[in-house]
Amino acid sequence: MPILSARDIVQRFGQQEVLHGVSLGVERGEILGLLGPSGAGKTTLVNVIAGVTEPESGIVEAFGKPMPSLQLMRRMGYMAQSDALYTDLTAAENLAFFGAIYGLTGNALKHAGERALETAHLTVEPGKLAREYSGGMRRRLSLATAILHEPDLLILDEPTIGLDPLHRVDIWEAFRQMAETGKTMIVTTHVMDEAERCDRLAMIRDGVFIAMGSPDELRQRAGAATLEDAFLYFARVEMASTAEGGGAHA
């Protein structure tokens, strides 16, 4: 049974339909990458999955139960595309606030905070406000607040955007370690070398999945040397089929 499943998700903003009925499932311990260009609907989809917004139609189930549910959210972590930090608080105060919402206080909070910062490869300076950190440091602090309560399911919206290659590698290693301990992750990206590190990829374009499978599988099916070429191949196939069949979501 998948840890998370989304079925026929349709999302609309005003007149514009942004997701045209997408479905996916993620297994325990898996890192699923959502790969797609800017504006494809990645953030919209993960927001629906995380329960931040409600879809127009479609069903999301986490741990076998329907979302949104506060009980389930307890076991989920979410890192937004924007840092979503209180920039007028210190790093410790940000961690304390988000920790408190998951019931972490006192020593438990202290240890959880230390672990999360270690995973995010961030050293904090006491008394320094979040707005005084560099952009990449804020990104990692944002990650730390998302993993603080050791969620079973992590939803990360472009977690490494704005990070240097060294930190990016470190953080992906941390993701892999978490996956090995049975945590499940959904990560959006439009960086190909990150996509390469996912167990499975869902390629999304204009609100539909154009392909799904492991990186190797996708390259093979497309007969392409790189994931980038594979993406272009599946995009062309998709365009051809919608042009022919009139398109299910035109």
Partner: protein, 369 residues
Amino acid sequence: MRNAYAVSLRILRQFKHDPRTLFMMIVAPVLALFLLNVIFGSPDYEPLIVTADMPSDFVSALEDAGARIATASDVEALDLVEQGEADAFVTQDGDVLRVWIEGSDPSKTGAVLRAINVAQIEALVSVELDIKPITLPGGLEIDVTEYLPLPSFEPPAAPEVAYVHGSEDMRVFDFYGPVFIGVFVFFYVFITSGISFVRERTGGTLERLMATPIHRWELVLGYVAGFGLFTLAQSAIVVAASIYWVGFPNLGNFWLVLLIALSMALVSLTLGILVSEFANTELQVMQLMQIIVIPQILLSGMFDLSQTPGWMQMLGKAFPVTYGAEAMRAVMLRGAGFGDVAAELAVLWVFAAVFFIGNIVALRKYRRI
């Protein structure tokens, strides 16, 4: 409940790192009240009146009535009034007193007319009839005043005035003071709470919170509690400064005044958060404030609405500020007790409760649960 506590604790910490906002929340309303008090507390205006060919009795009577006097020729005098350098020009045309008034400031016009009225009565009273006894041939003197009824110029006796409320010493501003206290608390609390909640949206933290197991009501309660503490402090300082430092007369109980101010702050707080849910930027909060707060202040009873069209009076009654202002006046000017203003307080708390629930409902647009 625990989450509400976490939210309010976080707000307190944000304030701790932002002492300037804290300072402004308290200093700004006190400063405004102080300035108003100095303006309205200044002595009455002494009009500058130019006279030409007026009897000295009348001129000194004008001076006694509190006017400053200058003399000039007709042409010069009219010119001075025209330039706004003098408030009025008074001259005599036969038996008729002719007055030209500058006229653009009704309060100065009033001061001129009052001085002239007083002077006219005084000049009349001070006319001494110089009637000499008639000496008849033969040396007999007859005092005709004994036989003639002389017109009496006695001014009417001053009425005996008793004040049911207030006193002779009450200045115009003292009537407005209680309303200003309430309105300022309302205004400044609205700005701070509205802007800080809209920041929660622009910074992405509201969406982030919606991904956590926090109830919508916990978030709203946390905001109200966290800000409530500050508005409590703010109201206490504004009320105390107004009464003990600026010197507004207060016939009622200090704590009752504080309770009313705090109730207004609570309405403002919940309304500010509600309004910010319909704004996307801090600028939009300010724009909405112009539509939502300014009319409330104008129709709060600060100005007498009893002669305005019925719809306007109805509109005033639909606004919470009106009830706060009325209760403030009742307590501070008429020494009303808790029982007298309980109805107004109840209305304020109902408004606060409605806005509070409105906030929880408005957050549904993010998450149903």
